[in-house]
Symmetry: C2
Subunit: 173 residues, 2 copies
Amino acid sequence: MRDLLQYLPVVADFPRPGIAFRDICPLLADAAAFDQALASMEELVQHWQVDRIAGIESRGLIFAAALAARMHLGLVPIRKPGKLPPQTLRENYALEYGQDGLEVQHAAFQAADQVLLVDDVIATGGTLLAAARLVQRLGARVAGVVSVLEIRALDGRARLEAAGLEVRTVLRD
Amino acid sequence: MRDLLQYLPVVADFPRPGIAFRDICPLLADAAAFDQALASMEELVQHWQVDRIAGIESRGLIFAAALAARMHLGLVPIRKPGKLPPQTLRENYALEYGQDGLEVQHAAFQAADQVLLVDDVIATGGTLLAAARLVQRLGARVAGVVSVLEIRALDGRARLEAAGLEVRTVLRD
């Protein structure tokens, strides 16, 4: 078993000064490390009932697509505004400065679908909370949230659990 | 076997007037259709020697990630400028009006890697040609190009084959 944290190096001051960016590319590029990360994610959610996987653009969508292929489930992309053809539903969320949004197609889920939300890194949890609201506004249910890495200092887990979401992550830092 | 073209509806005038957009979401969302598309892609490339898979942002990366998971291979994201942390290599390509670019990390490939390039739709082939140049500039080789759909009227296959690239697609329209 590899120490997967070593495949997620921190890049200082990217994309802006003061930001410590986690580069997921070394993990993706290594077949054994990528496979191990996906196997761990699958194992973490094995007791949840999951009908469909939703991934958050852009890096969450990479892991969501890979996990959907492994688990033979359908995939729903949750994307930045303007990328998905109509009809779409939008949810805004706060950033450190200003706000951003996410969109999903109205037809994405069937009523009562149990949806697994996938992202690469859980930071403040703001993006995942917006994604969860999109799922719920369409009448589906969030089976839980899974990510590769959780940044403990930013306390995203507490915000997600306070909203009633179950959270599993492969790595914590 | 499903008729996969029915899962790729054309959306008129999206994202701009005059553009006929292929929506891949219905295919992704249907577990059996998504699985069938991935199985077909895997079968189309089974006689190629492939060491690594590269996917083009954003929709190509979805299929590339899923295929990498199925085939237990490493994945290299080829992304829009400014998204990947340094050091990156850039290649520009012409659009109908103006130009755009793609970037890949210097460390993405090992010398002599045989790289499978994945995109969702082959239109004019311009994006895939730029991606192929990035692979080649880093000393790797393009094992071939695979996509879900080829738009015959836009003749991307001819441009790619003229550049010495092998092309396989699940569907033609």
